[in-house]
């Protein structure tokens, strides 16, 4: 099984989530994170003075999927999270050795 971890722009969350649901990825876990990258935070102007906010608010989506779903999932996230502007984010894929569904005790792909 693969864990797909995507760092995206917050306002794309709903679109990405709905797309994943539509191809059968039902489960995912979402975290609010601070992103540092090429997109350089932003300048806030308080009382006329500029302050650098070095991070950008981002959303991390984690979804564990069966191996055969991984590519499809990645390319779907890619297409939906894309605005073409800097800061669109990254997708990381890594292996997961085991999955357990707590409620039922199922393991492996059937537990996803």
């Amino acid at each position: 099984m693969k864990k797909i971890e995507a760092i995206i722009k917050p306002f794309k969350l709903d679109e990405v989530k709905d797309a994943l649901n539509s191809i059968g990825v039902q489960g995912m876990t979402v975290t609010e994170v601070k992103g540092f990258g090429r997109q350089k935070g932003h300048v806030e102007l308080y009382r006329g003075a500029e302050y650098d906010v070095s991070f950008v608010p981002k959303i991390k989506i984690e979804a564990v999927v069966p191996d055969n779903m991984a590519d499809k999932t990645v390319s779907l996230i890619e297409s939906r999270a894309k605005t073409g502007k800097i800061g669109d984010g990254k997708i990381f894929v890594s292996s997961v050795a085991q999955v357990v569904r707590i409620r039922t005790g199922e393991t492996g792909e059937s537990a996803i």
Partner: protein, 456 residues
């Protein structure tokens, strides 16, 4: 514990010095204090100096006005400043205002009222005859407030003293030791606030030369603003210099409570429920609105977006600037003062501060010092005798008033600046000024109080 002991020692020294001095003074008989600023705010008919007699309407208004000014400190200013502080420093910022209000409340009863409003000694300081409110009872009425119980007048003046000290904290937050701040409160209140309050309102020499200060442009705002600047310079810069407001909803709440309470501050300075109070009230609201809108527009042009913080800052700037003028100017004067108060402090904060490089965290100097000076000087220009016969400005044929205002401002700036510097030196020697850098980075809530504002 060490700073606590230091604090207690200083406190006892100040107290005993005060009491000794008082004993000395009480012997001599002093002439009754001069009719002063607030008396001038009474309508003409009052000039005949009627015998003091309690009026329930005036009393009702002044009781409430006093409570309103109290509200300006806790939670008003505490919220305004606390919301602007970084999240990790917000409680400490609120605690500074809170503890100052408490300490000043006690010292004012002990010796503050007496040395500010006791019988004048050489134009410099009040006498010690009212230490610990000696001789004041439920039936006492002060010559300075002839229709209300003196008890109310005592607390009304107390609330001014407390907020003045607290205002300065805006420049020091996010790095100052809590014990140092408490020591500052004790010393600065005793050696800066009390004399200046006496000079302007207690029948001292600035009152005698005719300086106009309806509700505290010099005594409160310039005074606190200069202390803010000097203190910020001595304290030095914070580790993280950004203004990173932890919670702007608190700032809006605080600004609203300040606006509300300021009606007690300005209209209450008429010390009566009369037409002067009405004029002060309408001028306060109008100047505040004008300043909020003009700050927002300038910011919109300068920084491309109108911010909520800008609206709130402009409003406070307007409140500050109209304070000395509130019971003296007409509505046009109020609009002009308000508009200026939204623009000039904005540039002080946005342009001057970065250039001069001092780190006044929440712009206590830029808003109170600059706004207060603006208001004090414009009072000398716009004071309209048809509003209040006690004040006649340059525009109404009395250019001397502007000069008098300049003298009052200058005296306050000099005295406050120098004594604040000395006080900071003493504090540095006794308990130290700043927290450790790691404690600053971790945040003063955790390091000074062991608390966190939110467990969300």
């Amino acid at each position: 514990m060490r700073p606590l002991i230091g604090l207690l020692i200083i406190l006892s020294l100040v107290l005993s010095a005060g009491l000794l001095f008082a004993e000395d003074q009480v012997q001599k008989t002093n002439p009754p204090s001069q009719a002063e600023q607030h008396a001038a705010a009474q309508p003409a008919s009052a000039a005949a100096a009627p015998a003091p007699k309690l009026d329930t309407g005036d009393t009702a208004w002044m009781i409430v006005a006093t409570a309103m000014v109290m509200l300006m400190s806790i939670p008003g200013l505490a919220l305004f400043y606390g919301g602007l502080a970084k999240r990790k420093d917000s409680l400490n910022t609120m605690a500074m205002t809170f503890v100052t209000f408490c300490i000043v409340s006690l010292l004012w009863i002990f010796y503050g009222y007496s040395f500010s409003f006791g019988a004048d000694i050489a134009g410099l300081i009040g006498g010690g005859e009212k230490l610990l409110l000696r001789g004041i009872g439920p039936n006492s009425i002060s010559d300075l407030a002839k229709t209300i119980p003196e008890y109310i007048y005592v607390v009304y003046q107390l609330t001014f003293a407390a907020i003045t000290v607290a205002l300065a904290s805006g420049a020091y937050i996010e790095r100052m030791k809590f014990s140092a701040w408490m020591l500052f409160t004790i010393l600065w209140f005793s050696f800066v606030y009390i004399p200046i309050a006496h000079w302007v309102w207690g029948g001292g020499f600035l009152a005698r030369i005719g300086a106009l200060d309806f509700a505290g442009g010099t005594v409160v705002h310039i005074n606190a603003g200069i202390a803010a600047l000097v203190g910020a310079l001595i304290l030095g810069k914070r580790n993280e210099k950004a203004l990173m407001p932890g919670n702007l909803t608190l700032v809006v709440t605080g600004a609203g409570l300040l606006w509300f309470g300021w009606f007690g501050f300005n209209a209450g300075s008429a010390v009566a429920a009369n037409g002067i109070a009405g004029a002060a009230f309408i001028n306060t609201n109008t100047a505040t609105a004008a300043a909020a809108v003009s700050w927002m527009l300038v910011e919109w042009i300068h920084s491309k977006k109108p911010t909520v913080l800008g609206l709130a800052s402009g409003a406070v700037g307007g409140l500050v600037a109209i304070t000395p003028a509130a019971g003296f100017v007409n509505i046009t004067g109020a609009i002009i003062i308000g508009m200026a108060a939204g623009i000039i402090p904005f540039f002080a904060v946005a342009m001057l501060k970065p250039k001069l490089g001092y780190d006044d965290t929440l712009d206590a100097f830029g808003i109170h010092g600059v706004g207060g000076t603006l208001g004090a000087l414009m009072t000398g220009i716009f004071a309209d005798p048809s509003i209040n016969e006690g004040g006649k400005g340059l525009l109404y044929g009395n250019p001397g008033q502007f000069l008098t205002q300049l003298i009052a401002v200058g005296t306050t700036v000099l005295y406050s600046g120098i004594v604040t510097a000395i006080i900071f030196m003493i504090i540095k020697a006794v308990v130290g000024l700043r927290v450790e850098t790691e404690d600053e980075i971790i945040g003063l809530d955790e390091s000074q109080h062991g608390e966190r504002a939110y467990n969300l």
